[in-house]
């Protein structure tokens, strides 16, 4: 090899030289090389442990969505008048040193007139084993099939309020599970709407510029100048009362989406205004690419990081946006539950001070939001060619 050589001397590499020699090409199959950047993204993403874990958590959450009726121990409307504001019952495994399997102790309510509070006393004498794959509250699965099978049920003649109950004696855990259905879909649908619009209008304005930009800009300006408040109020009056809860839900989602897009559109536009001056855009243009293609394939991907970040950030605002609406009387209608509704109900001092378990719905919201965020991070990294 080239040992320390004084540069003054004329050095010639002694190893034989073969210009045709190519480095051995790896044994990867063709698809390895043919991978599109999307596929590469996916491969990179898979290597990102935190992101994959987050994606897995989300998957679990979303898998719950179609089966909430089965998974929730109670129906969402099921209330128990004898257990109003009951604190969480803890799950035990051993009774007096003996393994029993998962069980709860029953408790009973009494009324403390002095403090105006319901007091629950736990009866530690007899464990009440909870049941699995059992029959419980009847429900209509997907609104089609009547059924009453549950994954877990309360003990026979007993109660199982693992997260306590609310002011009407409804099981919080079940309500959270039912709420997941609405909250998890509302975020995704809302974002889909707002992204579709934001990308479309922002893309048009940014890439085409000129009068299109001008009109879209003014549109955004007008939309943005109207604070959401009066719109919500007007809408709350306008939404027909006999819309089914599902319709209301979609109405709200769409409204949230509709209100959300201008911000994104402006960001897209300003970034595109800068990007469209880049040579590679010109190159695509000169190759004859259509405008849509240039926006979709060349401009937007270069804006991916911001989009992913925006999307993951919009999720919580969508999930919670609906709480603000219910605050103004435009939210979901009972009996439909969402995490936002649950949090809204916890929105008083009594919840903070006397019934802290009512604040529990924050936990799934945070978990979901964090999971979306970490997944977004992974996506961003995967999409970053430099990473």
């Amino acid at each position: 090899m080239n040992t320390a050589l004084p540069t003054k001397r004329h050095y010639v590499d002694p190893t034989p030289f073969d210009p045709g020699a190519t480095e051995p090409v790896g044994a990867e199959n063709e698809s390895f090389y043919r991978a599109s950047s999307w596929r590469l993204m996916w491969w990179k993403f898979r290597r990102h442990k935190v992101a994959v874990a987050a994606a897995f958590i989300l998957l679990v959450f979303y898998l719950i969505v179609p089966f909430v009726e089965v998974i929730a121990p109670y129906n969402q409307t099921k209330r128990n008048g004898d257990f109003i504001y009951a604190p969480p019952q803890s799950l035990h495994l051993t009774h007096e040193g003996r393994f029993v399997g998962p069980f709860v102790y029953s408790y009973s309510q009494s009324f403390d007139l002095e403090n105006f509070r319901r007091v629950y006393t736990v009866d530690r004498t007899s464990p009440q084993p909870i049941r699995f794959f059992c029959r419980g509250d009847a429900y209509k699965f997907w609104g089609l099939v009547n059924a009453n099978v549950h994954l877990v049920c309360p003990p026979e003649n007993g109660t199982m309020f693992l997260l306590g109950t609310d002011r009407l004696g409804r099981d919080l855990l079940s309500r959270i599970i039912y709420g997941a259905r609405i909250s998890l879909t509302i975020g995704v649908v809302g974002i889909a709407v707002s992204f579709a619009l934001g990308l479309f209008f922002g893309g048009l304005a940014g890439y085409l510029g000129g009068w299109v930009d001008h009109v879209i800009q003014r549109m955004i300006e007008i939309l943005r100048s109207l604070p959401e408040l009066p719109l919500w109020l007007a809408l709350s009056a306008a939404l027909p009362a006999n819309w089914s809860p599902i319709l209301v839900f979609f109405g709200i989602t769409i409204i949230l989406g509709l209100l959300d897009w201008p911000g994104l559109a402006r960001a897209v536009r300003s970034k595109l205004l800068a990007l469209r001056e880049e040579d590679f855009v010109k190159a695509a243009e000169l190759m004859g690419a259509s405008k849509q293609r240039i926006i979709a394939r060349h401009l937007i991907p270069n804006f991916m990081s911001h989009l992913i970040a925006s999307a993951t950030l919009s999720i919580p605002s969508m999930i919670l946006g609906e709480t603000a609406l219910s605050f103004l009387g435009l939210g979901l209608r009972p009996p439909v539950t969402s995490w936002g509704v649950l949090l809204n109900e916890a929105q008083n001092l009594a919840a903070v001070q006397l019934h802290p378990w009512l604040l529990f719905p924050i936990v799934p919201v945070i978990v979901v939001v964090l999971a979306f965020n970490f997944m977004g991070d992974g996506l961003r990294d995967a999409a970053d060619p430099y990473h």
Binding site: T7, Y11, V12, V25, E277, A284, S290
Partner: protein, 621 residues
């Protein structure tokens, strides 16, 4: 023996990549003596830029110095530091970077921030290292801008990179490196975007500074002519390893290694025989060419492309609220004809409007006046009037190779996607066919299929340039507008590409508009050559007659400035300094153009036209 300024020992740089780790620099050893110029030459992708980055510790995150040392002996402080041991973000490293070791980057377009003015970016280095005030920094910036040949340094302070031609950007980059008067200048292809006269000026400047400050230079270049003219020592690299190293004399007179010999053989020379081919180290397997038969396409009666009276002015806004604007006449009354199956070479000073002309022909930019006619066999049509499918056809048949390959490649697309994108746009072939085509294209430009799944940023400058060429060829165009297509390629790969282009022309009847600073290359490939200066075509002639009998003073100056890869025929820098003839008002009669006058093209020989002042031409008539 004096300690060298920088001694690199057994330097090894590894890259981590999806397709496996690979070694870009492998046991590299060389010294840079004080005050001397060391030229680093080698095949495109052989690790020259990576070496330079390693010296500055600015390697990409994927790369790592996995062995060896880089010892820097600072002549000013007498201190010695092993750069390979320093942390990239340590203070010691910051002090070295820019201050003691400065670098000119290979791709000047992407290396400048688009948001900051040239002046800001250049003076910054000075402010950091010399601790001077803004006013002083501006003054010195103007000085160096003037020295690198900016026509109006004061205004240049406030222009943005995208307002400059490729050559001007490169000169800005050079100014940025030189302003702190470093002990070591690493110049990575500093003159690729410059015409030969400017190149000579820059080389001269570097020499001057070397004499003034005892600066050492690590010059990375492909142009053996430049090496022969300025280098003291030469290091020849191939695939990350030194093949041969020695003094200039030894290398040029006594080349030993087969690679170096092949390299010297591959240099295009003037006055090559009509059918003489360049001899690259590896030739493209002509099998690929053989099975692509020429499609039956109607041939146009006249030229396939014709530009008539193109003019373009750029308006420069000087301030925010002041309405004061300045216009730059980038292109002035340009007429060009490109016959089918022929090559038109376009040479000229950096910043004279070549790129602007090609962009207008591409309809990437609207001319202020004039028109471009395109004839695909169905009669000439104005390009700017094309609509719908006619435009799509035009886009398909006429392709453009960008001067700056990096910025013309979408950073978020893999090579596979980049190469197949044109096919997808025009909806050609099945995915499998497209894949085969992509592999074929890569083969043509001498890259292997592992490149397919890499992103543009992970290639060397020359490799990217080849990607640009491959992409332009993807659609089997009939006309190719090449804006400096081979400037970043070493002579061997360059030969390979030039041969390829020639073969394609023979087989498929392609027409080229070939913009280049390298006159030998133009001579090799072109049939007709047009010389541009300050927005004007000053001379146009078949290549034989142009090189035999250059009429215009600017053409003559240009030819005189071509560096020869022969150490026995050095450039005469003094003479070059005297007569650059780039200002129309300085041209001797009858060529002088007075302010605002366009003059006329006058035919002096059959096919040989020269621009003359209008009244002189009338007189002559």
């Amino acid at each position: 023996m004096e300690t060298p300024l920088l001694s690199v020992r057994q330097l090894t740089v590894d890259f981590k990549a999806d397709s496996g780790d690979f070694r870009a620099v492998d046991g590299l050893t060389f010294d840079i003596p004080k005050g001397k110029t060391v030229a680093l030459v080698g095949e495109s992708g052989s690790g020259k830029s990576v070496t330079a980055q390693a010296i500055l510790q600015i390697l990409s995150k994927k790369a790592r110095i996995s062995g060896g040392s880089i010892v820097f002996n600072d002549p000013a402080t007498g201190k010695t530091a092993d750069i390979a041991e320093l942390r990239p973000e340590s203070d010691a490293m910051h002090a070295l970077r820019g201050g003691r070791i400065a670098m000119i980057f290979q791709e000047p377009m992407t290396s400048l921030s688009p948001l900051h003015t040239i002046g800001d970016q250049i003076s910054e280095a000075l402010i950091i290292h010399a601790h001077v005030g803004q006013a002083e920094a501006d003054k010195r910036t103007m000085e160096v801008l003037a020295r690198v040949g900016f026509p109006d340094p004061k205004r240049a302070l406030r222009t943005y990179p995208f307002e400059l031609s490729g050559g001007l950007r490169q000169r800005a980059m050079i100014a940025m490196a030189l302003i702190t008067r470093p002990a070591l200048l690493i110049a990575d292809e500093p003159t690729t975007a410059l015409d030969v006269t400017t190149q000579a000026q820059i080389l001269d400047l570097i020499k001057e500074l070397q004499a003034e400050t005892g600066m050492s230079v690590l010059l990375i270049t492909h142009d053996l002519g430049v090496v022969a003219n300025v280098a003291d020592e030469v290091v020849v690299m191939y695939r990350g390893r030194v093949m041969e190293a020695g003094s200039r004399e030894e290398i040029f007179r006594n080349a030993q290694h087969p690679y170096l010999k092949a390299l010297i053989r591959a240099v295009p020379r003037f006055a090559m025989g009509e059918d003489e081919r360049l001899t690259p180290i590896r030739d493209v397997k002509s099998a690929i060419l053989a099975n692509t038969d020429a499609p039956k396409r109607p041939q146009p009666q006249g030229p396939i492309l014709k530009a008539e009276g193109l003019r373009k002015c750029f308006t420069l806004r000087s301030g925010w609220f002041s309405g004061k604007t300045r216009t730059i006449r980038a292109v002035n009354d340009v007429n060009l004809t490109l016959p089918a199956g022929k090559t038109l070479g376009l040479v000229g000073e950096s910043g004279c409007g070549k790129t602007t002309v090609s962009k207008m022909i591409m309809r990437a930019m609207a001319p202020d006046s004039g028109r471009v006619l395109f004839d695909d066999g169905s009669g000439p049509r104005d390009v700017f009037g094309l609509e719908g499918s006619a435009l799509t056809d035009y886009r398909r048949t006429v392709q453009f190779i960008f001067q700056d390959p990096f910025s013309s490649l979408n950073p978020r697309m893999t090579v596979y996607e980049l190469l197949t994108e044109p096919l997808r746009i025009h909806d050609i072939g099945t995915p499998d066919e497209r894949y085969e085509r992509a592999k074929q294209l890569l083969d043509m430009v001498g890259l292997d299929k592992r490149s397919l799944r890499r992103y543009p940023h992970s290639f060397s400058g020359g490799q990217r340039q080849r990607l640009g060429i491959a992409r332009a060829l993807a659609l089997e165009p009939r006309v190719l507008l090449c804006d400096e297509p081979v400037s970043a390629l070493d002579v061997s790969v360059q030969a390979q590409i030039l041969n390829l282009l020639k073969d394609l022309q023979d087989v498929l009847g392609l027409s080229y508009l070939f913009v280049s600073h390298n006159l030998a290359v133009v001579d090799y490939i072109a049939d007709t050559i047009a010389v541009m200066c300050r927005g004007y075509i000053v001379e146009e002639a078949p290549k034989t007659s142009l090189f035999r009998n250059p009429m215009h003073p600017y053409t003559q100056a240009l030819l005189a400035a071509v560096p020869d890869p022969d150490i026995d025929r050095p450039l005469d820098f003094d003479k070059l300094r005297a007569g650059r003839f780039s200002n129309p008002a300085d041209w001797p009669e009858p060529y002088r153009l007075v302010e605002g006058e366009a003059g006329v093209m006058k035919e002096v020989e059959p096919g040989h036209k020269v621009r003359m002042g209008a009244h002189k031409a009338r007189e002559a008539a």
